[in-house]
């Protein structure tokens, strides 16, 4: 442990799922290699193609009533209609289903039964004071 180099600023920051690493501490933002640059150029090409398609539809003299966004349609479809066909009972899903779906039902059934039994015992022994009822 004594021989470890001191932690870098990025390591000292410890990004987690609530905060991301600032760009100033991220070594990815500096010293772009040719591969990174080619990747960025390809991403820019895809982005430019999509921008062009969108602008052509937007500035059309006879514009369509709605310019629908295929990414939005895919997002909505994936979250609603694509879940059931792609679902598969696996150990993880079965465990989570048991814990979150069946667990609470059994838990609350047990709690209510225990509460009722305790109240019934008190009533049988005569120790229970009936609450005043308006009806």
């Amino acid at each position: 442990m004594a021989g470890d180099p001191p932690p870098t600023a990025a390591q000292a920051y410890r990004p987690n799922r609530f905060v991301s690493l600032p760009a100033e501490l991220d070594p990815e933002t500096y010293d772009s290699s040719p591969e990174k640059r080619r990747a960025e150029a390809e991403r820019l090409a895809i982005r430019a193609r999509l921008k062009r398609q969108y602008q052509l539809q937007l500035n059309n003299p006879n514009p369509p009533a709605i310019i629908e966004d295929p990414a939005l349609i895919r997002w909505a479809y994936a979250r609603t209609q694509n879940v059931y066909p792609t679902f598969r009972p696996s150990p993880k899903t079965s465990f989570l289903g048991a814990v979150f779906a069946i667990g609470p039902i059994l838990f609350w059934a047990f709690v209510f039964k225990a509460d009722r039994d305790r109240k019934e015992k008190l009533i049988q022994e005569g120790k229970y004071k009936r609450p005043f009822s308006v009806f």
Binding site: Y13, N16, S20, R79, P85, T86, P89, T93
Partner: protein, 157 residues
């Protein structure tokens, strides 16, 4: 809608050709495309994008949809509606998260311990029982005005 079935999300891609086709469908590079792990959770071939909120996107770039900071056709995060600018913000903080958490827990712990100690061992100035005038408020407490009230003296000479 009118989109064909091969433009819609589908099952998890198994072969490299399916991966390439899915990347093209979602307008991503083949190297950038990474589907969610195939655990049967229902994600299918939807891409796994970095979990960054929309707060981190460049506010000065000319987005097609400026309020959502989203371009037409760009793949949306699975939890897009959680990461909008009204909701979760994952932008970097000036102080690291673990430092903030440590300071907060130290403060909260100290305050709770001190309040707990104050409940167990209360400390106040010495007090005696309250002394009421007019013979311990004989008439106000419903005493009979025709009778003589019992004399109450609170002093000793």
């Amino acid at each position: 809608s009118e989109m064909s079935k091969d433009l819609m999300p589908g099952p998890y891609p198994r072969t490299p050709e399916e991966r390439a086709a899915a990347a093209k469908k979602y307008n991503l590079r083949v190297e950038d495309y990474e589907p969610y792990p195939d655990d049967g959770f229902g994600y299918g071939d939807y891409p796994k994008l970095p979990n960054k909120s929309l707060h981190e996107r460049d506010p000065w770039y000319q987005w097609d949809q400026p309020d959502m900071r989203h371009n037409w056709g760009e793949p949306m995060h699975w939890d897009f509606d959680m990461y909008i600018r009204n909701r979760l913000d994952t932008s970097p903080t000036p102080v690291p998260w673990h430092t903030m958490r440590k300071h907060f827990l130290i403060f909260l712990g100290t305050m709770l311990i001190m309040f707990g100690l104050g409940e167990i061992y209360p400390s106040y100035r010495p007090v005696g029982p309250k002394q009421y005038p007019f013979n311990n408020l004989y008439l106000e407490r419903g005493g009979d005005p025709t009778k003589e009230p019992p004399v109450v003296t609170h002093y000793e000479i």
